[in-house]
Symmetry: C2
Subunit: 324 residues, 2 copies
Protein backbone atom coordinates (compact mmCIF):
# COMPACT_ATOMS: atom_id res chain seq x y z
CA UNK A 1 0.00 0.00 0.00
CA UNK A 2 0.95 3.64 -0.31
CA UNK A 3 3.19 5.16 2.27
CA UNK A 4 4.50 8.72 2.27
CA UNK A 5 8.15 7.77 2.70
CA UNK A 6 8.54 4.95 0.24
CA UNK A 7 5.84 5.37 -2.38
CA UNK A 8 7.13 3.56 -5.47
CA UNK A 9 6.13 5.74 -8.43
CA UNK A 10 7.80 3.60 -11.02
CA UNK A 11 5.83 0.53 -9.89
CA UNK A 12 2.64 2.62 -9.80
CA UNK A 13 3.13 3.96 -13.34
CA UNK A 14 3.99 0.55 -14.73
CA UNK A 15 0.99 -1.06 -12.99
CA UNK A 16 -1.48 1.55 -14.27
CA UNK A 17 0.04 1.51 -17.74
CA UNK A 18 -0.40 -2.28 -17.94
CA UNK A 19 -4.01 -2.05 -16.85
CA UNK A 20 -4.77 0.68 -19.38
CA UNK A 21 -3.05 -1.16 -22.22
CA UNK A 22 -4.92 -4.37 -21.40
CA UNK A 23 -8.21 -2.45 -21.71
CA UNK A 24 -7.20 -0.72 -24.95
CA UNK A 25 -6.27 -4.12 -26.34
CA UNK A 26 -9.62 -5.64 -25.32
CA UNK A 27 -11.40 -2.77 -27.06
CA UNK A 28 -9.42 -3.28 -30.28
CA UNK A 29 -9.97 -7.04 -30.21
CA UNK A 30 -13.70 -6.49 -30.76
CA UNK A 31 -12.91 -5.75 -34.41
CA UNK A 32 -11.64 -7.91 -37.27
CA UNK A 33 -7.85 -7.58 -36.96
CA UNK A 34 -7.40 -7.98 -40.72
CA UNK A 35 -9.07 -4.65 -41.42
CA UNK A 36 -6.59 -1.95 -42.40
CA UNK A 37 -8.36 0.71 -40.30
CA UNK A 38 -8.10 -1.52 -37.21
CA UNK A 39 -4.42 -2.23 -37.91
CA UNK A 40 -3.72 1.49 -38.28
CA UNK A 41 -5.57 2.30 -35.04
CA UNK A 42 -3.65 -0.48 -33.25
CA UNK A 43 -0.32 0.63 -34.75
CA UNK A 44 -0.62 4.07 -33.16
CA UNK A 45 -2.66 3.25 -30.05
CA UNK A 46 -0.38 0.41 -28.91
CA UNK A 47 2.95 2.04 -29.82
CA UNK A 48 3.77 2.64 -26.18
CA UNK A 49 4.05 6.13 -24.82
CA UNK A 50 3.89 7.32 -21.25
CA UNK A 51 0.07 7.06 -20.98
CA UNK A 52 0.35 10.21 -18.86
CA UNK A 53 -3.24 11.41 -19.38
CA UNK A 54 -5.09 8.17 -18.50
CA UNK A 55 -2.76 7.54 -15.54
CA UNK A 56 -3.45 11.08 -14.29
CA UNK A 57 -7.18 10.34 -14.57
CA UNK A 58 -6.82 7.16 -12.51
CA UNK A 59 -4.54 8.85 -9.95
CA UNK A 60 -7.03 11.70 -9.66
CA UNK A 61 -9.83 9.26 -8.88
CA UNK A 62 -7.69 7.68 -6.16
CA UNK A 63 -6.79 11.12 -4.76
CA UNK A 64 -10.46 11.72 -3.95
CA UNK A 65 -10.84 8.26 -2.40
CA UNK A 66 -12.56 6.72 -5.44
CA UNK A 67 -12.23 3.37 -7.21
CA UNK A 68 -10.21 3.90 -10.39
CA UNK A 69 -12.07 1.11 -12.21
CA UNK A 70 -14.93 3.60 -12.74
CA UNK A 71 -12.40 5.81 -14.54
CA UNK A 72 -11.33 3.22 -17.13
CA UNK A 73 -13.89 4.21 -19.81
CA UNK A 74 -12.74 7.85 -19.60
CA UNK A 75 -9.07 6.82 -19.41
CA UNK A 76 -9.37 4.72 -22.60
CA UNK A 77 -11.34 7.46 -24.40
CA UNK A 78 -8.77 10.10 -23.44
CA UNK A 79 -5.85 7.98 -24.67
CA UNK A 80 -7.68 7.37 -27.97
CA UNK A 81 -8.19 11.11 -28.42
CA UNK A 82 -4.54 11.76 -27.54
CA UNK A 83 -3.49 9.16 -30.14
CA UNK A 84 -5.78 10.64 -32.82
CA UNK A 85 -4.19 14.05 -32.22
CA UNK A 86 -0.69 12.60 -32.64
CA UNK A 87 -1.65 10.84 -35.89
CA UNK A 88 -3.13 14.03 -37.38
CA UNK A 89 -0.27 16.23 -36.07
CA UNK A 90 2.30 13.93 -37.74
CA UNK A 91 0.66 14.21 -41.20
CA UNK A 92 2.63 15.73 -44.11
CA UNK A 93 0.32 18.79 -44.11
CA UNK A 94 1.07 19.36 -40.40
CA UNK A 95 4.43 18.49 -38.75
CA UNK A 96 5.39 15.96 -41.45
CA UNK A 97 7.04 13.53 -39.03
CA UNK A 98 8.25 10.10 -40.16
CA UNK A 99 8.95 8.63 -36.72
CA UNK A 100 7.04 8.63 -33.45
CA UNK A 101 8.25 6.72 -30.38
CA UNK A 102 10.88 5.04 -32.55
CA UNK A 103 8.40 3.54 -35.03
CA UNK A 104 7.07 4.88 -38.35
CA UNK A 105 4.19 7.33 -37.99
CA UNK A 106 0.75 6.10 -39.04
CA UNK A 107 0.82 7.67 -42.51
CA UNK A 108 4.29 6.18 -43.13
CA UNK A 109 3.31 2.69 -41.95
CA UNK A 110 0.00 2.80 -43.89
CA UNK A 111 -0.99 5.71 -46.13
CA UNK A 112 -1.98 9.32 -45.65
CA UNK A 113 -5.67 8.61 -46.26
CA UNK A 114 -5.65 5.68 -43.82
CA UNK A 115 -3.91 7.83 -41.19
CA UNK A 116 -6.50 10.61 -41.52
CA UNK A 117 -9.30 8.04 -41.20
CA UNK A 118 -7.63 6.15 -38.32
CA UNK A 119 -7.46 9.46 -36.43
CA UNK A 120 -11.11 10.17 -37.24
CA UNK A 121 -12.08 6.66 -36.10
CA UNK A 122 -10.22 6.94 -32.78
CA UNK A 123 -11.81 10.33 -32.03
CA UNK A 124 -15.28 9.03 -32.89
CA UNK A 125 -14.85 5.78 -30.95
CA UNK A 126 -13.84 7.68 -27.81
CA UNK A 127 -17.37 9.08 -27.71
CA UNK A 128 -18.88 5.66 -28.39
CA UNK A 129 -17.06 4.33 -25.31
CA UNK A 130 -18.15 7.26 -23.17
CA UNK A 131 -21.80 7.05 -24.25
CA UNK A 132 -22.28 3.29 -23.91
CA UNK A 133 -19.34 1.72 -22.05
CA UNK A 134 -21.69 -1.19 -21.28
CA UNK A 135 -21.87 -2.03 -25.00
CA UNK A 136 -18.12 -2.61 -25.32
CA UNK A 137 -17.89 -6.41 -25.30
CA UNK A 138 -14.75 -8.52 -24.97
CA UNK A 139 -14.16 -11.22 -27.60
CA UNK A 140 -14.74 -14.11 -27.92
CA UNK A 141 -17.11 -14.52 -24.96
CA UNK A 142 -18.99 -11.19 -25.10
CA UNK A 143 -18.20 -10.34 -21.48
CA UNK A 144 -18.45 -6.63 -20.75
CA UNK A 145 -15.02 -4.99 -21.02
CA UNK A 146 -15.88 -2.35 -18.40
CA UNK A 147 -17.32 -3.83 -15.23
CA UNK A 148 -17.68 -0.59 -13.23
CA UNK A 149 -19.67 1.99 -15.15
CA UNK A 150 -20.49 5.56 -14.07
CA UNK A 151 -24.13 6.61 -14.18
CA UNK A 152 -25.52 8.39 -17.25
CA UNK A 153 -25.38 11.92 -15.81
CA UNK A 154 -21.67 11.36 -15.13
CA UNK A 155 -21.06 9.99 -18.64
CA UNK A 156 -22.68 13.12 -20.10
CA UNK A 157 -20.40 15.29 -17.95
CA UNK A 158 -17.34 13.33 -19.12
CA UNK A 159 -18.29 13.74 -22.79
CA UNK A 160 -18.81 17.45 -22.27
CA UNK A 161 -15.48 18.00 -20.46
CA UNK A 162 -13.50 15.95 -22.97
CA UNK A 163 -15.15 17.30 -26.15
CA UNK A 164 -14.62 20.84 -24.86
CA UNK A 165 -10.91 20.28 -24.12
CA UNK A 166 -10.24 18.45 -27.41
CA UNK A 167 -12.13 20.86 -29.66
CA UNK A 168 -11.84 24.26 -31.23
CA UNK A 169 -11.43 26.04 -27.88
CA UNK A 170 -8.77 23.55 -26.81
CA UNK A 171 -6.46 21.09 -28.52
CA UNK A 172 -7.56 21.89 -32.09
CA UNK A 173 -6.91 25.62 -31.62
CA UNK A 174 -3.55 24.82 -30.00
CA UNK A 175 -2.54 22.95 -33.14
CA UNK A 176 -3.81 25.87 -35.27
CA UNK A 177 -1.51 28.19 -33.28
CA UNK A 178 1.37 25.75 -33.69
CA UNK A 179 0.79 25.74 -37.47
CA UNK A 180 1.12 29.55 -37.65
CA UNK A 181 4.82 28.91 -37.43
CA UNK A 182 7.84 30.95 -36.61
CA UNK A 183 7.38 33.75 -39.16
CA UNK A 184 4.29 35.11 -37.37
CA UNK A 185 5.72 34.58 -33.92
CA UNK A 186 9.02 36.31 -34.73
CA UNK A 187 7.13 39.59 -35.21
CA UNK A 188 5.87 39.58 -31.59
CA UNK A 189 7.50 41.61 -28.76
CA UNK A 190 9.42 39.49 -26.22
CA UNK A 191 6.75 39.32 -23.49
CA UNK A 192 4.04 38.56 -26.05
CA UNK A 193 6.17 35.64 -27.25
CA UNK A 194 6.10 34.15 -23.73
CA UNK A 195 2.33 34.67 -23.52
CA UNK A 196 1.90 33.17 -26.98
CA UNK A 197 3.91 30.09 -25.98
CA UNK A 198 2.01 29.65 -22.70
CA UNK A 199 -1.34 29.99 -24.48
CA UNK A 200 -0.28 27.56 -27.23
CA UNK A 201 0.68 24.90 -24.67
CA UNK A 202 -2.40 25.56 -22.54
CA UNK A 203 -4.62 24.92 -25.56
CA UNK A 204 -2.62 22.19 -27.30
CA UNK A 205 -1.82 19.98 -24.29
CA UNK A 206 -2.83 21.75 -21.07
CA UNK A 207 -6.58 21.54 -21.55
CA UNK A 208 -6.57 17.79 -22.18
CA UNK A 209 -4.34 17.25 -19.12
CA UNK A 210 -6.78 19.30 -17.04
CA UNK A 211 -9.69 17.34 -18.56
CA UNK A 212 -7.93 14.07 -17.64
CA UNK A 213 -7.56 15.05 -13.98
CA UNK A 214 -11.14 16.38 -13.91
CA UNK A 215 -12.46 13.23 -15.60
CA UNK A 216 -10.86 11.13 -12.88
CA UNK A 217 -12.71 12.97 -10.14
CA UNK A 218 -15.98 13.34 -12.12
CA UNK A 219 -16.02 9.58 -12.84
CA UNK A 220 -16.61 8.92 -9.13
CA UNK A 221 -19.11 11.72 -8.65
CA UNK A 222 -17.05 14.76 -7.58
CA UNK A 223 -18.85 17.90 -8.79
CA UNK A 224 -17.22 20.24 -11.28
CA UNK A 225 -17.98 23.23 -9.04
CA UNK A 226 -16.54 21.76 -5.84
CA UNK A 227 -13.48 23.18 -4.07
CA UNK A 228 -11.72 19.83 -4.42
CA UNK A 229 -12.17 20.08 -8.20
CA UNK A 230 -10.72 23.59 -8.21
CA UNK A 231 -7.59 22.37 -6.43
CA UNK A 232 -7.22 19.40 -8.77
CA UNK A 233 -7.72 21.68 -11.77
CA UNK A 234 -4.99 24.04 -10.52
CA UNK A 235 -2.70 21.05 -9.96
CA UNK A 236 -3.35 19.87 -13.54
CA UNK A 237 -2.84 23.31 -15.04
CA UNK A 238 0.54 23.66 -13.34
CA UNK A 239 1.86 20.20 -14.22
CA UNK A 240 0.59 20.54 -17.80
CA UNK A 241 2.74 23.60 -18.34
CA UNK A 242 5.66 22.10 -16.38
CA UNK A 243 5.50 19.09 -18.67
CA UNK A 244 5.85 21.29 -21.76
CA UNK A 245 8.73 23.28 -20.28
CA UNK A 246 10.63 20.07 -19.48
CA UNK A 247 9.76 18.75 -22.96
CA UNK A 248 11.46 21.79 -24.47
CA UNK A 249 14.47 21.32 -22.16
CA UNK A 250 14.76 17.64 -23.15
CA UNK A 251 14.76 18.70 -26.81
CA UNK A 252 17.94 20.67 -26.01
CA UNK A 253 19.78 18.33 -23.66
CA UNK A 254 17.93 14.98 -23.71
CA UNK A 255 19.35 11.60 -24.72
CA UNK A 256 18.02 10.65 -28.19
CA UNK A 257 18.31 6.91 -27.36
CA UNK A 258 16.09 7.23 -24.28
CA UNK A 259 13.61 9.49 -26.08
CA UNK A 260 13.26 7.41 -29.23
CA UNK A 261 13.59 10.55 -31.37
CA UNK A 262 16.19 13.10 -32.43
CA UNK A 263 17.00 16.04 -30.16
CA UNK A 264 17.84 19.58 -31.19
CA UNK A 265 15.00 19.61 -33.74
CA UNK A 266 13.34 22.67 -32.16
CA UNK A 267 16.46 24.75 -32.70
CA UNK A 268 16.88 23.44 -36.24
CA UNK A 269 13.25 24.34 -37.00
CA UNK A 270 13.63 27.76 -35.38
CA UNK A 271 10.78 26.82 -33.05
CA UNK A 272 9.62 29.06 -30.20
CA UNK A 273 10.47 27.23 -26.93
CA UNK A 274 11.02 28.09 -23.28
CA UNK A 275 14.81 27.51 -23.49
CA UNK A 276 15.12 29.87 -26.49
CA UNK A 277 13.06 32.54 -24.68
CA UNK A 278 14.31 32.12 -21.10
CA UNK A 279 17.52 30.09 -21.45
CA UNK A 280 17.87 26.55 -20.12
CA UNK A 281 18.61 27.52 -16.50
CA UNK A 282 15.63 29.88 -16.13
CA UNK A 283 13.43 27.29 -17.86
CA UNK A 284 14.43 24.72 -15.25
CA UNK A 285 13.64 27.21 -12.47
CA UNK A 286 10.26 27.89 -14.04
CA UNK A 287 9.45 24.15 -14.25
CA UNK A 288 10.46 23.72 -10.59
CA UNK A 289 8.19 26.58 -9.53
CA UNK A 290 5.26 25.14 -11.46
CA UNK A 291 5.70 21.72 -9.87
CA UNK A 292 5.92 23.31 -6.41
CA UNK A 293 2.65 25.14 -7.05
CA UNK A 294 1.05 21.89 -8.22
CA UNK A 295 2.16 20.08 -5.07
CA UNK A 296 0.93 23.00 -2.97
CA UNK A 297 -2.53 22.60 -4.51
CA UNK A 298 -2.59 18.96 -3.40
CA UNK A 299 -1.44 19.98 0.07
CA UNK A 300 -4.58 22.14 0.32
CA UNK A 301 -6.83 19.09 -0.18
CA UNK A 302 -8.56 17.81 3.00
CA UNK A 303 -6.30 15.88 5.41
CA UNK A 304 -7.84 12.50 4.56
CA UNK A 305 -6.93 12.96 0.86
CA UNK A 306 -3.22 13.59 1.54
CA UNK A 307 -2.17 9.96 1.42
CA UNK A 308 -4.45 8.99 -1.52
CA UNK A 309 -3.02 11.98 -3.43
CA UNK A 310 0.55 10.67 -3.17
CA UNK A 311 0.54 9.31 -6.76
CA UNK A 312 -0.47 12.75 -8.11
CA UNK A 313 2.27 14.34 -6.00
CA UNK A 314 4.87 11.85 -7.19
CA UNK A 315 3.84 12.35 -10.84
CA UNK A 316 4.32 16.12 -10.46
CA UNK A 317 7.80 15.63 -8.99
CA UNK A 318 8.70 13.05 -11.64
CA UNK A 319 8.18 15.67 -14.39
CA UNK A 320 11.36 17.43 -13.20
CA UNK A 321 13.42 14.24 -13.17
CA UNK A 322 12.21 12.55 -16.35
CA UNK A 323 14.68 11.66 -19.07
CA UNK A 324 12.11 11.01 -21.83
CA UNK B 1 -51.09 22.23 -42.40
CA UNK B 2 -50.30 18.91 -43.94
CA UNK B 3 -52.79 17.34 -46.22
CA UNK B 4 -52.36 14.09 -48.10
CA UNK B 5 -53.31 15.50 -51.47
CA UNK B 6 -51.47 18.77 -51.58
CA UNK B 7 -48.55 18.43 -49.21
CA UNK B 8 -46.00 21.00 -50.36
CA UNK B 9 -42.62 19.28 -50.04
CA UNK B 10 -40.64 22.13 -51.50
CA UNK B 11 -42.04 24.56 -48.90
CA UNK B 12 -41.40 21.97 -46.17
CA UNK B 13 -37.76 21.43 -47.19
CA UNK B 14 -37.08 25.13 -47.49
CA UNK B 15 -38.72 25.86 -44.12
CA UNK B 16 -36.74 23.16 -42.30
CA UNK B 17 -33.53 24.10 -44.07
CA UNK B 18 -33.91 27.73 -42.94
CA UNK B 19 -34.52 26.69 -39.37
CA UNK B 20 -31.49 24.39 -39.35
CA UNK B 21 -29.23 27.01 -40.92
CA UNK B 22 -30.35 29.64 -38.40
CA UNK B 23 -29.35 27.27 -35.59
CA UNK B 24 -26.00 26.40 -37.17
CA UNK B 25 -25.33 30.10 -37.55
CA UNK B 26 -26.21 30.81 -33.91
CA UNK B 27 -23.79 28.06 -32.85
CA UNK B 28 -20.97 29.49 -34.96
CA UNK B 29 -21.61 33.03 -33.70
CA UNK B 30 -20.54 31.95 -30.21
CA UNK B 31 -16.94 32.06 -31.43
CA UNK B 32 -14.66 34.91 -32.50
CA UNK B 33 -15.35 35.19 -36.24
CA UNK B 34 -11.78 36.36 -36.92
CA UNK B 35 -10.34 32.98 -35.98
CA UNK B 36 -9.21 30.99 -39.00
CA UNK B 37 -10.60 27.72 -37.60
CA UNK B 38 -14.04 29.33 -37.17
CA UNK B 39 -13.91 30.78 -40.70
CA UNK B 40 -12.98 27.37 -42.12
CA UNK B 41 -15.81 25.67 -40.20
CA UNK B 42 -18.26 28.33 -41.39
CA UNK B 43 -16.98 28.11 -44.98
CA UNK B 44 -17.92 24.44 -45.22
CA UNK B 45 -20.86 24.29 -42.80
CA UNK B 46 -22.73 27.22 -44.38
CA UNK B 47 -21.95 26.39 -48.04
CA UNK B 48 -25.51 25.25 -48.66
CA UNK B 49 -26.27 21.67 -49.45
CA UNK B 50 -29.53 19.80 -49.23
CA UNK B 51 -29.39 19.35 -45.43
CA UNK B 52 -30.97 15.95 -46.11
CA UNK B 53 -29.85 14.27 -42.88
CA UNK B 54 -31.03 16.93 -40.37
CA UNK B 55 -34.31 17.37 -42.29
CA UNK B 56 -34.85 13.59 -42.17
CA UNK B 57 -34.24 13.72 -38.41
CA UNK B 58 -36.85 16.47 -37.98
CA UNK B 59 -39.35 14.74 -40.32
CA UNK B 60 -38.85 11.50 -38.39
CA UNK B 61 -39.70 13.23 -35.13
CA UNK B 62 -42.86 14.61 -36.68
CA UNK B 63 -43.76 11.17 -38.09
CA UNK B 64 -44.02 9.82 -34.55
CA UNK B 65 -46.06 12.81 -33.39
CA UNK B 66 -43.16 14.59 -31.68
CA UNK B 67 -42.05 18.21 -31.52
CA UNK B 68 -39.09 18.65 -33.88
CA UNK B 69 -37.57 21.38 -31.69
CA UNK B 70 -36.30 18.58 -29.41
CA UNK B 71 -34.44 17.22 -32.45
CA UNK B 72 -32.49 20.39 -33.23
CA UNK B 73 -29.40 19.49 -31.14
CA UNK B 74 -29.11 16.13 -32.93
CA UNK B 75 -29.91 17.72 -36.30
CA UNK B 76 -27.11 20.30 -35.90
CA UNK B 77 -24.66 17.67 -34.63
CA UNK B 78 -25.45 15.37 -37.57
CA UNK B 79 -24.95 18.15 -40.12
CA UNK B 80 -21.61 19.05 -38.49
CA UNK B 81 -20.47 15.43 -38.75
CA UNK B 82 -21.63 15.27 -42.37
CA UNK B 83 -19.67 18.45 -43.13
CA UNK B 84 -16.53 17.15 -41.38
CA UNK B 85 -16.72 14.00 -43.53
CA UNK B 86 -16.97 16.08 -46.73
CA UNK B 87 -13.98 18.24 -45.72
CA UNK B 88 -11.79 15.19 -45.02
CA UNK B 89 -13.04 13.29 -48.12
CA UNK B 90 -12.10 16.27 -50.32
CA UNK B 91 -8.47 16.37 -49.06
CA UNK B 92 -5.61 15.78 -51.53
CA UNK B 93 -4.82 12.43 -49.83
CA UNK B 94 -8.44 11.32 -50.39
CA UNK B 95 -10.58 12.42 -53.35
CA UNK B 96 -8.47 15.54 -54.04
CA UNK B 97 -11.45 17.72 -54.99
CA UNK B 98 -11.07 21.46 -55.63
CA UNK B 99 -14.77 22.34 -55.75
CA UNK B 100 -17.76 21.40 -53.61
CA UNK B 101 -21.22 22.88 -54.16
CA UNK B 102 -19.69 25.36 -56.60
CA UNK B 103 -17.23 26.86 -54.11
CA UNK B 104 -13.59 25.96 -53.33
CA UNK B 105 -13.20 23.02 -50.95
CA UNK B 106 -11.99 23.82 -47.43
CA UNK B 107 -8.32 22.98 -48.10
CA UNK B 108 -8.39 25.12 -51.26
CA UNK B 109 -10.02 28.11 -49.53
CA UNK B 110 -7.72 27.82 -46.48
CA UNK B 111 -4.91 25.24 -46.25
CA UNK B 112 -4.65 21.49 -45.93
CA UNK B 113 -3.75 21.65 -42.24
CA UNK B 114 -6.63 24.03 -41.49
CA UNK B 115 -9.04 21.75 -43.38
CA UNK B 116 -7.96 18.69 -41.40
CA UNK B 117 -8.37 20.63 -38.15
CA UNK B 118 -11.71 22.19 -39.17
CA UNK B 119 -13.01 18.66 -39.81
CA UNK B 120 -11.68 17.51 -36.45
CA UNK B 121 -13.25 20.53 -34.75
CA UNK B 122 -16.68 19.94 -36.34
CA UNK B 123 -16.67 16.26 -35.36
CA UNK B 124 -15.62 17.07 -31.80
CA UNK B 125 -18.12 19.93 -31.44
CA UNK B 126 -20.99 17.67 -32.52
CA UNK B 127 -20.44 15.68 -29.31
CA UNK B 128 -20.17 18.86 -27.25
CA UNK B 129 -23.62 19.88 -28.52
CA UNK B 130 -25.09 16.46 -27.82
CA UNK B 131 -23.63 16.25 -24.30
CA UNK B 132 -24.54 19.73 -23.08
CA UNK B 133 -26.98 21.41 -25.50
CA UNK B 134 -27.97 23.68 -22.59
CA UNK B 135 -24.44 25.16 -22.57
CA UNK B 136 -24.67 26.42 -26.16
CA UNK B 137 -25.36 30.14 -25.66
CA UNK B 138 -26.42 32.63 -28.30
CA UNK B 139 -24.39 35.84 -28.60
CA UNK B 140 -24.50 38.61 -27.52
CA UNK B 141 -27.17 38.02 -24.87
CA UNK B 142 -26.23 34.50 -23.65
CA UNK B 143 -29.73 33.15 -24.29
CA UNK B 144 -29.79 29.38 -24.69
CA UNK B 145 -29.66 28.43 -28.38
CA UNK B 146 -31.66 25.23 -27.80
CA UNK B 147 -34.85 25.82 -25.84
CA UNK B 148 -36.20 22.25 -25.95
CA UNK B 149 -33.63 19.77 -24.65
CA UNK B 150 -33.99 15.99 -24.44
CA UNK B 151 -33.28 14.38 -21.08
CA UNK B 152 -29.80 13.00 -20.33
CA UNK B 153 -30.63 9.35 -21.00
CA UNK B 154 -31.83 10.38 -24.47
CA UNK B 155 -28.70 12.48 -25.11
CA UNK B 156 -26.56 9.45 -24.23
CA UNK B 157 -28.54 7.33 -26.69
CA UNK B 158 -28.10 9.96 -29.42
CA UNK B 159 -24.33 10.11 -28.87
CA UNK B 160 -24.15 6.33 -29.02
CA UNK B 161 -26.22 6.03 -32.24
CA UNK B 162 -24.34 8.82 -34.00
CA UNK B 163 -20.81 7.82 -32.91
CA UNK B 164 -21.52 4.24 -33.99
CA UNK B 165 -22.78 5.30 -37.44
CA UNK B 166 -19.95 7.80 -38.03
CA UNK B 167 -17.12 5.58 -36.84
CA UNK B 168 -15.04 2.62 -37.91
CA UNK B 169 -18.06 0.34 -38.35
CA UNK B 170 -19.85 3.01 -40.38
CA UNK B 171 -18.87 6.10 -42.33
CA UNK B 172 -15.10 5.81 -41.72
CA UNK B 173 -15.01 2.22 -43.01
CA UNK B 174 -17.11 3.27 -46.01
CA UNK B 175 -14.47 5.84 -46.91
CA UNK B 176 -11.75 3.20 -46.39
CA UNK B 177 -13.56 0.98 -48.93
CA UNK B 178 -13.92 3.92 -51.31
CA UNK B 179 -10.15 4.54 -51.06
CA UNK B 180 -9.37 0.95 -52.12
CA UNK B 181 -10.12 2.18 -55.59
CA UNK B 182 -10.94 0.56 -58.87
CA UNK B 183 -7.91 -1.74 -59.16
CA UNK B 184 -9.06 -3.91 -56.25
CA UNK B 185 -12.71 -3.81 -57.26
CA UNK B 186 -12.00 -4.76 -60.89
CA UNK B 187 -10.75 -8.17 -59.71
CA UNK B 188 -14.14 -9.06 -58.18
CA UNK B 189 -16.75 -11.27 -59.92
CA UNK B 190 -19.82 -9.39 -61.18
CA UNK B 191 -22.21 -10.22 -58.30
CA UNK B 192 -19.52 -9.46 -55.72
CA UNK B 193 -19.11 -6.06 -57.35
CA UNK B 194 -22.79 -5.30 -56.70
CA UNK B 195 -22.46 -6.49 -53.09
CA UNK B 196 -19.29 -4.44 -52.67
CA UNK B 197 -21.01 -1.32 -53.97
CA UNK B 198 -24.08 -1.83 -51.75
CA UNK B 199 -21.88 -2.40 -48.69
CA UNK B 200 -19.75 0.64 -49.49
CA UNK B 201 -22.81 2.89 -49.72
CA UNK B 202 -24.42 1.33 -46.64
CA UNK B 203 -21.32 2.15 -44.61
CA UNK B 204 -20.31 5.45 -46.19
CA UNK B 205 -23.72 7.16 -46.31
CA UNK B 206 -26.46 4.66 -45.37
CA UNK B 207 -25.59 4.31 -41.71
CA UNK B 208 -25.61 8.08 -41.06
CA UNK B 209 -28.96 8.39 -42.89
CA UNK B 210 -30.35 5.60 -40.71
CA UNK B 211 -28.85 7.29 -37.62
CA UNK B 212 -30.53 10.57 -38.64
CA UNK B 213 -33.99 9.00 -38.88
CA UNK B 214 -33.40 7.09 -35.62
CA UNK B 215 -32.12 10.23 -33.87
CA UNK B 216 -35.35 12.01 -34.82
CA UNK B 217 -37.48 9.39 -33.11
CA UNK B 218 -35.10 8.87 -30.16
CA UNK B 219 -35.03 12.63 -29.47
CA UNK B 220 -38.70 12.47 -28.45
CA UNK B 221 -38.39 9.25 -26.49
CA UNK B 222 -39.16 6.45 -28.99
CA UNK B 223 -37.22 3.35 -27.91
CA UNK B 224 -34.59 1.83 -30.18
CA UNK B 225 -36.18 -1.62 -29.81
CA UNK B 226 -39.73 -0.56 -30.67
CA UNK B 227 -41.58 -1.76 -33.77
CA UNK B 228 -42.00 1.85 -34.89
CA UNK B 229 -38.23 2.25 -34.82
CA UNK B 230 -37.79 -0.89 -36.91
CA UNK B 231 -40.11 0.48 -39.59
CA UNK B 232 -38.38 3.87 -39.59
CA UNK B 233 -35.00 2.14 -39.79
CA UNK B 234 -36.12 0.08 -42.81
CA UNK B 235 -37.45 3.26 -44.42
CA UNK B 236 -34.09 4.97 -43.88
CA UNK B 237 -32.08 2.01 -45.15
CA UNK B 238 -34.09 1.94 -48.39
CA UNK B 239 -33.97 5.66 -49.10
CA UNK B 240 -30.26 5.80 -48.21
CA UNK B 241 -29.47 3.32 -50.95
CA UNK B 242 -31.99 4.90 -53.36
CA UNK B 243 -30.25 8.21 -52.83
CA UNK B 244 -26.88 6.73 -53.85
CA UNK B 245 -28.33 5.02 -56.91
CA UNK B 246 -29.89 8.30 -58.11
CA UNK B 247 -26.62 10.08 -57.30
CA UNK B 248 -24.82 7.71 -59.67
CA UNK B 249 -27.52 8.25 -62.32
CA UNK B 250 -27.22 12.04 -62.00
CA UNK B 251 -23.48 11.71 -62.52
CA UNK B 252 -24.29 10.21 -65.93
CA UNK B 253 -27.21 12.32 -67.08
CA UNK B 254 -27.50 15.25 -64.64
CA UNK B 255 -27.27 18.96 -65.49
CA UNK B 256 -23.88 20.33 -64.31
CA UNK B 257 -25.35 23.83 -63.82
CA UNK B 258 -28.04 22.55 -61.44
CA UNK B 259 -25.61 20.30 -59.59
CA UNK B 260 -22.82 22.84 -59.11
CA UNK B 261 -20.25 20.25 -60.20
CA UNK B 262 -19.09 18.44 -63.32
CA UNK B 263 -20.90 15.29 -64.47
CA UNK B 264 -19.39 12.20 -66.04
CA UNK B 265 -16.54 12.18 -63.50
CA UNK B 266 -17.38 8.64 -62.32
CA UNK B 267 -16.88 7.26 -65.82
CA UNK B 268 -13.68 9.28 -66.30
CA UNK B 269 -12.34 7.93 -62.97
CA UNK B 270 -13.40 4.37 -63.85
CA UNK B 271 -15.49 4.36 -60.68
CA UNK B 272 -17.76 1.47 -59.72
CA UNK B 273 -21.36 2.75 -59.93
CA UNK B 274 -24.84 1.32 -60.32
CA UNK B 275 -25.20 2.56 -63.94
CA UNK B 276 -21.90 0.91 -64.94
CA UNK B 277 -22.95 -2.37 -63.30
CA UNK B 278 -26.68 -2.43 -64.13
CA UNK B 279 -27.05 0.16 -66.90
CA UNK B 280 -29.00 3.38 -66.47
CA UNK B 281 -32.48 1.88 -67.05
CA UNK B 282 -32.09 -0.98 -64.55
CA UNK B 283 -30.57 1.47 -62.06
CA UNK B 284 -33.67 3.64 -62.34
CA UNK B 285 -35.88 0.56 -61.80
CA UNK B 286 -33.82 -0.37 -58.74
CA UNK B 287 -34.15 3.15 -57.28
CA UNK B 288 -37.93 3.05 -57.87
CA UNK B 289 -38.22 -0.32 -56.10
CA UNK B 290 -36.23 0.95 -53.11
CA UNK B 291 -38.43 4.02 -52.78
CA UNK B 292 -41.56 1.86 -52.99
CA UNK B 293 -40.24 -0.34 -50.19
CA UNK B 294 -39.44 2.75 -48.11
CA UNK B 295 -42.97 4.09 -48.59
CA UNK B 296 -44.39 0.66 -47.76
CA UNK B 297 -42.53 0.76 -44.41
CA UNK B 298 -44.23 4.05 -43.58
CA UNK B 299 -47.60 2.59 -44.60
CA UNK B 300 -47.10 -0.07 -41.90
CA UNK B 301 -46.86 2.59 -39.17
CA UNK B 302 -49.99 2.94 -36.95
CA UNK B 303 -52.92 4.74 -38.59
CA UNK B 304 -52.48 7.92 -36.51
CA UNK B 305 -48.91 8.33 -37.83
CA UNK B 306 -49.90 8.21 -41.51
CA UNK B 307 -50.53 11.93 -41.88
CA UNK B 308 -47.56 13.03 -39.70
CA UNK B 309 -45.36 10.74 -41.84
CA UNK B 310 -46.25 12.56 -45.07
CA UNK B 311 -42.97 14.55 -45.11
CA UNK B 312 -40.96 11.32 -44.88
CA UNK B 313 -43.07 9.85 -47.68
CA UNK B 314 -42.64 12.92 -49.87
CA UNK B 315 -38.87 12.96 -49.26
CA UNK B 316 -38.65 9.33 -50.41
CA UNK B 317 -40.57 10.10 -53.60
CA UNK B 318 -38.55 13.25 -54.23
CA UNK B 319 -35.36 11.16 -54.43
CA UNK B 320 -36.56 9.78 -57.78
CA UNK B 321 -37.38 13.20 -59.18
CA UNK B 322 -34.42 15.24 -57.95
CA UNK B 323 -32.21 17.07 -60.44
CA UNK B 324 -29.29 17.78 -58.04
Amino acid sequence: MMNGQNFNLSAYLSDKRSILEAYLNKILLQFDQNREIVQAMRHSLMAGGKRLRPILAMASTQAVGGDFRFTLPAACAIEMIHTYSLIHDDLPAMDNDDLRRGVPTCHKAFSESTAILAGDALLTYAFKILSRPDEIKAQPNNDPVFKSIPEKSILIELISIISEAAGLDGMVEGQMMDMMGSSFVSTLPYLDKIDHLKKLHHLKTGKMIIASVQAGAVSVGIGLDSEIMQLLTRYAQKIGLAFQVTDDILNVEGDPDLMGKAVGSDQLNDKLTFPTLLGVDKSKEFATELVEEAVESLFMLPQNFQEPALPLKAIAQYILKRKK
